[in-house]
């Protein structure tokens, strides 16, 4: 059966949300990113004209566009808007796979009699999202996920590109090979060296050649070059992990200072887990040093947890085992191996654990009513 897969991608999502929330930013170059250091999380289309793109260091963005409006990341707000958008998308098909905060695949196979043609459906969806949030999105519709994703990128912003089964061959003949998702710089160079410029060029070499050259990815590339991708749209995939990380304003070498940062991150992770009703068994610590080298360390616990204190203590243990002797640029704490819902009660409960649970609950309630700044743990009192 020929599938119809839609890829919906919000345009410059974070920056656009800021522009909608702050009308004075309309038409201005808006750059959303970390504090003094850190990187650009999103840039409005006006800012992109100056050559600013996401993942670029903020200082570089400032140099390129000194008069740009730089705003900090307001994840809570973006998540709120994202939920709104996803609810609207889920209105057209139960088969929605959200792949990031601002992107989703929708399987719209066989919805013509319900929603009309793909073009009508896409136009209506864009209109609904605009009406509810003031935001624009770009939509690609194609016979599979990989082509739909490429298609949504072609007419950005506020674009729509529909690729029919019959047009796939011609489309691939003109598709630059490095637009195939998954092709990084290294693969791209290999391909260039072989004189492979478009997707169709890949087919000049047999499957065995690609497998030999690129391993498992070679086989996938060969498949994609024929316009094939059988991966299904998997709806409502539960989150796999919950994490927080920060690039510090200044590199840190003081262990006490690092602990404070870890506590903040553990708080953030714990808060999010508790809010969404998850428990996790694996705690991961990520440390990026001043020289940009990165290490990660994990530990799996006996019992799943969402307790700030427990997450923090494991993260500190992991940090102690790393024996940091260099300056640290970034740390991150993540909890994975998540489960939710049903929890086994214990026969013996350590009073200290019960106390921490009560503390978490109390802090969550206070923060939800009076904001993050209303209550702080003692050791964080002098942290900005």
């Amino acid at each position: 059966m020929i599938r119809r897969i839609m890829h919906v991608d919000m345009d410059a999502f974070y920056a656009s949300v800021e522009q909608v929330d702050h009308p004075e930013m309309q038409g201005q170059p808006v750059i959303v990113g970390g504090s003094t250091r850190g990187v650009v999380s999103a840039a409005s289309y006006e800012a992109r004209k100056f050559g600013i793109h996401s993942a670029m260091p903020i200082f570089q963005a400032r140099r390129l566009c000194p008069h740009g409006i730089f705003v900090p990341v307001n994840m809570r707000r973006y998540r709120q808007v994202s939920c709104q958008v996803m609810r609207i998308i889920e209105g057209i098909s139960p088969l929605v796979e959200q792949i990031s905060i601002d992107e989703a695949y929708v399987d719209i196979t066989g919805t013509e009699s319900l929603h009309g043609s793909s073009r009508e459906l896409a136009a209506r969806l864009k209109e609904r999202i605009r009406a509810a949030t003031g935001l624009t999105c770009s939509i690609g519709i194609a016979p599979n996920k990989f082509l739909a994703k490429i298609a949504s990128d072609l007419r950005k912003p506020d674009g729509l590109f529909i690729l029919d089964e019959t047009g796939v061959q011609r489309f691939l003949q003109h598709l630059p090979v490095d637009q195939i998702p998954g092709i990084g710089r290294r693969t791209s160079e290999i391909l260039k060296g072989l004189g492979v410029a478009t997707a169709s060029d890949v087919l000049r070499f047999p499957l065995s050649f690609w497998v030999r050259r690129l391993g498992k990815y070679g086989a996938r590339l060969h498949e994609k070059a024929q316009g094939l991708d059988f991966s299904p749209v998997i709806p409502d995939s539960a989150p796999k992990s919950c994490s927080a990380e920060d690039t510090f304003p200044k590199d840190i070498s003081d262990p006490a200072e690092l602990r404070k940062r870890l506590l903040l991150q553990a708080e953030s992770v714990g808060r999010e887990l508790r809010r969404d009703g998850f428990f996790g068994r694996t705690v991961t610590l990520k440390v990026k040093f001043a020289d940009f080298s990165v290490i990660t360390r994990s530990r799996t616990l006996h019992e799943p947890t969402h307790c700030t204190r427990t997450i923090f203590e494991v993260a500190v243990q992991l940090l102690d085992e790393v024996q940091v002797s260099r300056k640290v640029r970034l740390t991150g704490v993540a909890v994975s191996n998540l489960c939710s819902g049903v929890q086994q009660m214990k026969l013996f409960k350590e009073s200290a654990v019960a106390k921490q649970e009560r503390l978490d609950r109390a802090m969550d309630v206070i923060e939800s009513r009076f904001g993050r700044e209303a209550v702080k743990r003692g050791i964080l009192w002098d942290l900005d």
Binding site: V342, Q343, Q344, M345, K346, L347
Partner: protein
């Protein structure tokens, strides 16, 4: 028991002509004046059976390679002794054989079993060669196994001479069967990876297991065992419990002894030595609710088969079964949106308010399966306290399971 040293000053051996080893061993120049020798002829079934008994003790994944080995000792009393240890459990067994030269050597337990199992011959010749390889010879098959000197094998304590008390293997096995499932594989702050065995105030003996989520115990009459030096109680490690069970499977009678920190189990031809756990078993009596105002009884067979049906729709993530208790009926419910749901209804003798509680279905099944009773009695306080499962026909059995919060 003390292992004796067998070192002999041997002349170059002449192998009996009926053995095919002659050609090989004569090629070896023997210059050592002092050699450790061992040469035995064994019945294959006796050797295989002895080797099978020690396999569970030897460690396959230890960072001490020698723990994958066993110790083979040929005495001059025409007896072969095989022993092994994982440093916590040690096992010793013996069988008769034709000993031509006594001696001792340590060799890979698994390999020796695998080889002897594959040999069709009734007789096997084992010989320690001057190059310190253990030759296994049968018919035209020949193996030479790497060895480790017996002196390097870890020390084992087999206290033969202590006081042993005969016990009814059936009683002991049944007590272990009814509690061993609750021993956790790993230790954590609130559970001990072993079975607590302690005397009660009423001079009975109680076996207790708990993994921090559930607790079960069973009592046996004291008279058989009350001479054992249990003190306030001993904790038998999980592997030890399973090893005792394995041995009792085949024996009608066994004797127990305790010496220092070792529990010994003796049978006709074997000795098992278990290093007791030196851990603090949680104060479990405190968490058993004394007052349990609500209760019902249900037919064992009906509950058991209904639980097995419910279990079909549980998985790693959705492992709970809900007890929905109403006047005269117990409704069981399991499953989830992901897999589907299951319901079953049982008649019970209950007059009282509605009550709903959920348990890990594995825990309930373990408990129900451990009971020897035509009825199951369930007693409870509220959804924050553990539910108590009792066997009216088997009053020595007690099980407490903490609920799941759904």
């Amino acid at each position: 028991m003390i292992l004796k040293i067998y070192k002999r000053n041997n002349q170059v051996d002449q192998h009996p002509n009926d053995l095919k080893s002659v050609a090989w061993s004569q090629q070896i120049e023997l210059t050592d004046q002092e050699r450790i020798m061992m040469k035995i002829s064994v019945q294959t079934p006796s050797l295989v059976s002895a080797l099978q008994k020690v396999q569970n003790i030897t460690e396959k994944k230890s960072n001490m390679p020698i723990l994958a080995n066993l110790l083979l000792k040929a005495t001059d009393q025409q007896v072969v002794e095989i022993s092994a240890t994982d440093l916590e459990l040690s096992f010793w067994t013996q069988f008769t054989a034709q000993i031509q030269e006594p001696g001792s050597i340590s060799v890979a337990a698994r390999k020796l079993l695998e080889i002897t199992r594959e040999l069709p011959q009734e007789q096997i010749l084992l010989e320690l060669l001057p190059n310190q390889r253990l030759m296994v010879l049968a018919g035209r098959s020949r193996f030479e196994l790497a060895t480790i000197p017996w002196e390097d094998y870890p020390h084992m304590n087999f206290y033969q001479e202590i006081e042993y008390l005969k016990c009814d293997a059936k009683v002991l096995k049944s007590a272990l069967d009814k509690t061993s499932y609750g021993i956790p594989a790993e230790e954590d702050p609130f559970s001990v990876a072993g079975l607590l065995w302690h005397p009660t105030e009423s001079e009975r003996l109680r076996f207790v297991s708990s993994d921090g989520h559930r607790l079960s115990y069973v009592e046996i009459p004291g008279e058989q065992f009350n001479k054992l030096q249990l003190g306030k109680g001993v904790i038998i490690p999980r592997k030890g419990v399973h090893e005792i069970l394995r041995i009792l499977e085949k024996e009608k009678e066994a004797s127990l002894g305790i010496f220092e920190n070792c529990l010994m189990l003796k049978t006709e031809d074997s000795l098992l030595s278990i290093q007791l756990l030196e851990a603090e078993f949680p104060e479990y009596q405190m968490i058993i609710p004394e007052e349990r105002p609500f209760a019902f009884q249900v037919n064992w067979e009906n509950l058991h088969s209904a639980l097995k049906r419910m279990a079909v729709l549980t998985d790693q993530k959705w492992r709970h079964v809900r007890f929905i208790i109403r006047e005269g009926s117990l409704e069981l419910e399991a499953g989830s949106q992901d897999i589907g749901v299951a319901n079953d209804l049982l008649d019970i003798d209950y007059q009282g308010g509605d009550f709903t509680v959920a348990f890990n279905i594995r825990y309930v099944l373990d408990t129900v399966q451990a009971m020897e009773s035509s009825q199951v009695r369930f007693e409870w306080v509220d959804q924050f306290h553990g539910g108590v499962f009792l066997a009216p026909d088997d009053p020595a059995y007690f099980s407490l399971i903490m609920p799941m919060v759904v």
